[in-house]
Symmetry: D2
Subunit: 326 residues, 4 copies
């Protein structure tokens, strides 16, 4: 059975100061679709849907949900039946209850990450060719979610065999256990990745840039606007995924990856690429070590029913950070 999940669609994040967030994301190069005192809807320049990032003003930063777009309402129904059969509680949200989006279901996935499925989102003007309005890193579109979880191997099998994702690349640690996996529905490197670590937490949301110079421009604009300390890692190139990357932290610490450089994964005969955890070129092709914060810090996620933070668990595989002998 194929649920017609199209792609990573949007994330709903809690932030503590909407105005501070707006200033930051605007400089970074997002388009503000709409905002008020309590909400900020952001999208990339090529996006024809209302938002790919919805920030809500709350007491504490957290991830309310990450959402996948599916082909039709029928897919939502089928996913609901599937999750119920699996014994999971599903929360249905009717059209009209959330701005700009049609009906959805939310569920805690097998790792505890809150996920959502929707088929419809309000159309807005695509600004792809309004180059006169492009600023900062000229963010093009949402690309993927990266989740830190205690048991990657279970997530891997679930997403591949139950939700029909495909694997583009993966990392093995001791005893060839899967330490991280990059999984996709759209034919890019990923819509979602899972990494071994204290979780479930959202490590970052990846946004696609049109070229490497937009990433350099993004660094310069952020720094000039006083956000140099928000740049956490990069620019660099990941060996895994081939991405030219930059990681920035928003004012609440949510991590955004800007990136460019993956490849087409459309073919069934494409063989997933295996990396060893301690291969220094895996993390950074150019050989730099990532800062500790990149391994240690991530965003807490919420229970879809209670709205409370999901309790964190230690990772199943001991090593939560690669060791480089350089």
């Amino acid at each position: 059975m194929n649920f017609n999940i199209i792609r990573a669609g949007r994330a709903v994040l809690h932030v503590t100061d909407i105005e501070k967030s707006r200033l930051f994301y605007e400089k970074l190069g997002f388009v503000v679709t709409d905002t008020d005192n309590e909400n900020l809807f952001l999208r990339g320049l090529e996006e024809h849907n209302h938002h790919s990032l919805w920030l809500k003003q709350k007491q504490e930063p957290a991830v309310e949900v990450i959402s996948y777009k599916v082909t039709s309402e029928k897919d939502i129904d089928e996913l609901e039946s599937f999750f119920r059969r699996q014994g999971r509680e599903v929360k249905r949200i009717k059209a009209g209850e959330q701005p700009a989006v049609g009906q959805t279901i939310r569920v805690q996935d097998i790792t505890g990450i809150p996920i959502e499925f929707y088929a419809e989102m309000e159309a807005v003007e695509r600004l792809l060719q309004r180059y006169d309005l492009h600023t900062g890193a000229k963010v093009q579109r949402i690309d993927h979610f990266n989740c830190m979880v205690r048991d990657v191997e279970t997530a891997y099998h679930y997403y591949l065999h139950k939700l029909d994702f495909a694997c583009s690349e993966y990392t093995v640690g001791e005893h060839q256990k899967i330490w991280a996996a990059w999984l996709h529905r759209k034919p890019s490197v990923h819509d979602v990745a899972f990494m071994n670590g204290v979780g479930p937490r959202l490590h970052h949301i990846g946004f696609w840039l049109k070229d490497p110079m937009s990433l350099i421009d993004g660094c310069d604009v952020l720094a000039a606007a006083g956000y140099s300390t928000n740049i956490e890692r990069g620019p660099g190139r990941h060996g895994l995924s081939n991405a030219f990357f930059l990681y920035v932290r928003d004012p609440d610490g949510h991590r955004i990856e800007l990136y460019n450089g993956d490849y087409l994964t459309s073919d069934p005969d494409f063989k997933p690429i295996k990396w060893e955890l301690d291969d220094p070129m895996r993390q950074t092709f150019w050989g730099h070590e990532a800062p500790d914060s990149w391994f240690d810090e991530a965003s807490d996620v919420l229970d879809i029913q209670t709205g409370q933070k999901i309790a964190l668990q230690q990772p199943k595989l001991k090593k939560s950070k690669p060791q480089f002998i350089m």
Copy 2:
């Protein structure tokens, strides 16, 4: 019915001097998978299949066939049945009869263009991260075919409604008749485009570059290597498709487009973009006129059965070239 056509896969071109072709395509930034006195197999840097361009030494330049990759052998069988039901002659080529590729079928499509479907092609080393071997424009992968035909509207309906392609953008001329259409299976702007003109002929084959600077590098390398007269048009940006483009002519006049800059077309709610034929920003966003050769010249195509050139027909719509009032 969905035939699981994945993407534009490869083209088989006839050329009159394999060695001259090899020198040209190497400078342009292709990888030579294999070559002998009569054949040249080329691929892009991210391609894991044996070739996306097969050049054969012949008396005259021509297009033998353009080929689409499908998911499995079953799709080939179903396509064969479909075309036979449509009353078309289908030529089946067994595995082993062509180098590196499994069994295929060939057929003249509704416009007369010779097309082929295959599911299997020999795997080779992907050179995506062998940056030390990248040269010229660093060609990444095949992207699309562009065909000049007498009746675009018929092709459009056939590919959309019989072969399950989707339309990303199209151009209308007088009386809102479809003058050109960009159609895709993979979620990019196109796998194939049809333009109104003397046909059936292959106008060009598009190859994807990783960034705009690779295209500039390609110009510089070609010019330095003595190929400046092979650069026909560009660099420029198409309004339609948003591609940053360069058109070059190979030693036999076959036209190759190098390009970068399209967008994701995965969503069913993406509305095809309509352009007016005489909108000057459609052809070239930056306002330049294309040279006459770009409108007048294209590669002849062959009959899959006889190997003879398909007779050319005048286009159905009168205007075969846009008029810009600039």
Copy 3:
């Protein structure tokens, strides 16, 4: 004698609609230092002086003067004496008579082009690292003037032997006559170039960009803002000077070159590079022909005393445009 001419400094242009000009130059990526109904002062992002382009509202477009910066007031005095000895009328403008600039002298040079020398200009904030304010093509600084004149050879000898410029590159036509010459004081390819043609006229003013992508961005922004018809030529690469170039026309037809890519010319043992007029790679390394307007059109220049247009003369060398056999 060395007059300590430092570099091309600024140009004073007459335009017919200050507001239209302001909108255009802002989109192009200039910084507006100051403006009122009758004047517009523009500079590049790295410039620490008040302006490099002064536009004045007038009835007709024209070039009032092009100005060179010298080391000190003493150089102005010495240049005045020199020009008077040469029998030229010199107009001295006292400090305070022109906004932002110290005392100057103006004179018609040997080709009839109105030139000016100044040592002092008001300091302003350099915006080089205010990346958050950079837009369009991110114009960095003025680089050179290009003048179309009837007798290049005379200009060449005058600037080299009287004004101590050095030659980086030159073009010869029939009988090895100098058809064009690139002359510099700062160690770049040029501060001023002379080309054979109907003159004296100012062909264009060149501004330096920091990298090739800024030029591409400039094209996209201009086009998106409705200025695609203002793009006259390019992007392309000049063989001569190695510049990656774009020529745009402002609302009054004044031509601006955006460019990147020359080289250091500091060394006395650097040999000027000779090009043949009909070498197709000279004008455009990538082999494209320039549009006729680029050869035919240029800005009229004014008499420094009367403010009237200087009468045009036919060029001394017959061929005013190269012939390419391509």
Copy 4:
């Protein structure tokens, strides 16, 4: 008195394995002018002189001398007289004693760094437009030397007031003492910089790249060729100098900076830019800390007379590394 020092010209380095060095520098994008078992002469793509880097096979890595180009032999004579008047031992090397270079003088500068002056170097083909031969980071030309010395303030005054360098930017530490200074003869940010530290040592030699993408390409090519551990720092942007930089270590640990992005410093009214040592944007505009090795390690320099290593001294200013509070 002005000695007509033109620019930083070349460095002579001792290395322990010429073949290993050649492989490294070729991948990095240098041109090999000439090599044998004991010598390797390297230059950048726009250089018309024989070499800007001369590597000699020796037992131990060291810096034999850094050399400045002057206008004429007369300048060499005048510099010799000057240094002798200053009580410094000057070593004259006749034309013919060194390959490709005319007569020179060598002297230990006021900080102990071995410097040399030459007016003539053999001309070679400039490869600026042989784009088909460009590889790696496409190194364009030598730009500057960076020296780590115990007493920057003395060096600063000496180079400014005795050798007629100008200062573009400088850093002050406690009590406004000069901690580092960027000094130039050619109108760029620098030909030589001095930094407070254990010295005299050569910290790095800077080479100019034509654009930021060449630096990214350089990283990718080095990494793909197995040199990822040679990448020490970057890519990043210096606040000071505005350089987009990469620091790499050659097989003997000599440090090479690849960079792009400075600005024109031709004007006498340009005010040197002052930075505070602990301003985090000074070192890295984007806010990253440099690795310890970048502050601690540098190349030893030799005595021009004895060929022995110059003894190291502790820096005059206590803080040899900035402290960032981030």
